[in-house]
Amino acid sequence: MAISILMTALSPTMQDGVIAEWLVAEGQTVKAGDALCEIETDKATMPYESPRAGTILKIIAPAGHKAAVGETIAVLGKPGEDWQAIVDKAQAASTAAPAVPQPPAAPLPTLSTQSAFPALGPSAHPPAIPVQVFSIQNADPAPAIPGTQTSQTYTDHPALPSGQPPSSPLARATAREHRLDLRGVRGSGPHGRVVQRDVLAAASNAQAAVPATMPATHMIPTQGSMAPRNDAAAAISRPARGALRSGLRDKRVPLSKMRSIIAERLGASWTQAPHFFVRAAVDMERLLELRAAVNEDRERPVSLNAFVMRITAAALERHPGINASWEGDAIRYRPAADIGLAVALDGGLITPVVRACERKGVEQIDAELADLVPRARAGTLFPAEYSEASFTISNLGSSGVEEFTAIINPPGSAILALGAVSKEAVVRGDAIVARRTMRITLSSDHRVIDGAAAAAFVGELKALLEEPARALL
């Protein structure tokens, strides 16, 4: 029984995707769960896993091809099966545009993405995310007994609006136990349901991944990366030497999807949002002492970013006008401090978001970062995990930069740029003392935030960072 492999919507708004690369060839045998191809979406490149075992009979959409959601990209089946018939049938089904559900008595020759919801009335909007990502040809109809209850099946599983995958209660309990954010866990159950085994696998991966990826961090100082300036300077010189030797070449590289999205969005932000900048030098002694005390007996130290995010959330709570979005004819004040953290990738960047930082403890924020950041680098974040930040932090401290300005990451109206922590000579009383200091720069969208408001926020943030106990109040 051959099946069509359809382009699947990997985000609620995805209309089409580009096949970055085929990982299998025609004639190759695959198991369920094997990656068939890589699909480029807005920001992430995600592997497309085979829904079942079989042989790749035909690759319809070659690498580089842009396929609409629901379009057949390949046919899977047994060797010798007629793939052309499957393609023809799938095309016929999709052009038939079944706005009216098929009568239930009819056999189900093809479950296209649209007709996967036969229980919805004609006026109902189809859910944004198709549940059925592959079609089943010649499905054996269940031996129905007329008028009976057990033969009923319910096929409408509307997508959850939040983009959060469905999960079993046990999976949720297990995730809480392991301090794991379920949004990052891929579900192996029906309709993508996250079940216990998925959480356990993710938990053991996360445990394995966290220590391994720590040293590779360069935008996210987590462990000892808030180092004095001379260490950071050494860090600069190291990659530079190797990179220069092989870096100068004459070649033209077509844009990746991610590159073009960055270009489009940050270009729009820079030209549409009137940026202005407010700076401050923050005495970090208290916060670093607090962090050192907290980390004294911990196997895995809590990152400075987690502290900064938590304290920034406290400042945002006191200045809700900063935590807002420009919507053309209105300003939308956001109900939670959903703070994005810029993470550098090869060929781009991405900002995983920790939701509602104002309601979370430093430890929880840190645990979520430990899950999100490695997956951000691996390009396996779900769209819901990197979109809709209400505020963003970009930290180039570990690269040793003293300070910098950042471009606002919409739909947020402000972004905070963190420089390196380094000892500076400062005046305390009448004495000049060496204090560990961090330069921060807030970029604000003047359509939403005025200078005085930005200054008040930065002043508050500076005060809270310098005296973190105040953030507890």
Binding site: Q149, P169, V195, Q196
Partner: protein, 327 residues
């Protein structure tokens, strides 16, 4: 431990209780001269005489009512229904009289009576004589309902039922009557309201009662070969239901498959599944699976008759669904 059949175990329970307490009497169609339609009462007439073992006319409402009256007056009657299919005629006496009198008399009356007989499908008996009617009794507050799945429980639960001061319905099974099993030599009472762990396991809980417990155990053996450890909970008592045992098991395994040989709607199994879903919501990794008979009158054709009932392979399939291992 003596090995005896389920039928002999029931007989021994009645024999011991009749010897122990003179107020225990047995009445029903063909229970005396014919030794019972299924020979459960064999020898009791000879031993206790026609004053205590009584053949009745074929009138379930009549002799069930006679039993209820005798119980109010101080006897401990055992009313044998030839099958629970015929007990439908006696529903009014059980539901409106036996189950209500303690409540409506403000506790001044009690009805210590046992209603017993085979329930559920046997073979080649078609639609009217193959019904699993547990819900009819379990639905009603004021009744106790037990459903022994093996000879030891048949013996111990029937003795407890006879000694109970409230009406108890015993769901036996024609196809279990010949089953052999070990029964303690010493007198033993199985308490009403206590489920048994028929087989211990860690991956999934299979809840069953009566004859399907056998299928659940068969399924567990098949699953073991696949490396799946299934725990089988034998409810034994349907009312009161031993929720502590069920919930402890599901809390441990995180997955539940409920088996009931009756129709699915408004069944005991559906209720148990609902209770698990409510009480162990946070422990569940999968929806509670339910294996019942198909929602149809029993076909006479034997292949279809077997096809509509729960079976070990249906239970295995449900377990695999609950574990997300289905092919």
């Amino acid at each position: 431990m003596a090995t005896m059949t389920y039928r002999e175990a029931l007989n021994r329970a009645m024999d011991e209780e009749m010897a122990r307490d003179e107020s225990v009497v047995l009445m029903g169609e063909e229970v005396a001269e014919y030794d019972g339609a299924y020979k459960v009462s064999r020898g009791l007439l000879a031993k206790y005489g026609d004053g205590r073992v009584l053949d009745t006319p074929i009138t379930e409402l009549g002799f069930t009512g006679l039993g209820v009256g005798a119980a109010i007056a101080g006897m401990r009657p055992i009313v044998e229904w030839m099958t629970h299919n015929f007990a439908l005629l006696a529903l009014d006496q059980v539901v409106n009289e036996a189950a209500k009198l303690r409540h409506m008399s403000g506790g001044r009356l009690s009805v210590p009576i046992v209603f017993r007989g085979p329930n559920g499908p046997a073979e080649y008996l078609s639609s009217q004589h193959s019904q699993a009617l547990a819900s009819y009794w379990v639905h009603v507050p004021g009744l106790r309902v037990v459903s022994p799945s093996n000879p030891a429980d048949a013996y111990g639960l029937l003795k407890s039922a006879i000694r109970d001061n409230d009406p108890v319905v015993v769901l036996e099974s024609e196809l279990l009557y010949g089953d052999k099993g070990e029964v303690p030599d010493e007198e033993t009472l199985v308490p009403i309201g206590k489920a048994a762990i028929a087989r211990a396991g860690t991956d999934v809980t299979i809840v069953a009662f009566g004859r399907p417990v056998k299928y659940a155990l068969e399924a567990a053996a098949i699953l073991e070969q696949r490396g799946i450890s299934a725990e089988v909970v034998d409810l034994r008592s349907l009312r009161p239901l031993d929720e502590d045992t069920i919930m402890a098991s599901v809390g441990k395994t995180g997955r539940a498959v409920v088996v009931d040989e009756s129709w699915p709607a408004a069944s005991v199994g559906a209720y148990v599944a609902h209770r698990i879903a409510s009480e162990r919501f946070d422990s569940l990794d999968a929806p509670v699976e339910f294996v019942s008979s198909e929602d149809v009158p029993m076909p006479y054709n034997h292949a279809l008759e077997l096809a509509v009932q729960p079976s070990a392979s249906k239970i295995v399939a449900a377990v695999l669904r609950a574990l997300y291992l289905e092919a």
